[in-house]
């Protein structure tokens, strides 16, 4: 069964350092999502791509976060510089199409700890 791949699974970094996460969606899925999930809370959408274009990045802290999906396939989320409050689980999801009715398939996540 096809799955969303994410790496690394765990990342520990010091504050002020740069960190990057990678996501490979299910083959053929046009829509890709990055979420941040703080412990004890539900996932919060950071950015949504349709192919290589950003559809929604209204919740992305653009002063330190950036995301790209250059060829419309895999994607990278970067944080520079990392802050203590960025410690969270970062989830990637994909769906065949964007929009409200389509199921999202989630990867296992990257757990980030900033020290």
């Amino acid at each position: 069964e096809a799955e969303v791949a994410q790496s690394p699974r765990y990342k520990i970094t010091e504050k002020s350092q740069a960190v990057a996460f990678w996501c490979d969606p299910i083959s053929g899925h046009a829509t890709l999502y990055w979420y941040r999930q703080i412990l004890g809370q539900g996932p919060e959408l950071l950015v949504q791509f349709q192919d290589e274009s950003v559809v929604d990045d209204s919740q992305l802290p653009k002063d330190r976060f950036s995301a790209e999906r250059l060829k419309g396939v895999d994607s990278t989320l970067k944080i520079q510089p990392a802050e203590l409050g960025d410690s969270a689980m970062y989830l990637c999801a994909s769906s065949s199409l964007g929009g409200a009715t389509y199921e999202q398939y989630f990867g296992p996540g990257t757990r980030l700890t900033v020290t």
């Binding site: 809370q41 539900g42 996932p43």
Partner: protein, 112 residues
């Protein structure tokens, strides 16, 4: 604007007894509603979804949910809990052209 409220942060039931996880939503238009489950150290998995078809939606692992527009609710139920149901459950609301909103989650504990 739309929002979703999961009324209980923790629910404990005994194995073999019914499960009820409550979710209320707010949306100006007809929303799509989902329930996802998150087992420890695993990714989120879709349990079921409502997209303006039948109001009683059946999902995987014996779960079902009923869309009640008059009560703006989408509660998740299961007739008989199993130990493997212990997990975090998220209610999600979304609407075309609007944000996808996750609830804060309900942790389900199954007592032997």
């Amino acid at each position: 604007a739309q929002s979703v409220t999961q009324l209980d942060s923790h629910v404990s039931v005994s194995e073999g007894t019914p499960v009820l996880l409550r979710c209320n939503y707010s949306s100006s238009y007809s929303p799509s509603l989902f329930w996802y489950v998150q087992h420890p150290n695993k990714g989120l998995q879709l349990l079921l979804k409502y997209t303006s078809a039948a109001t009683l939606v059946k999902g995987i692992n014996g779960f079902e949910a009923e869309f009640k527009k008059s009560e703006t609710s989408f509660h998740l139920t299961k007739p008989s809990a199993h130990m493997s149901d212990a997990a975090e459950y998220f209610c999600v609301v979304s609407r075309r052209d609007d944000k996808i909103i996750f609830g804060k989650g309900t942790r389900l504990h199954i007592l032997p």
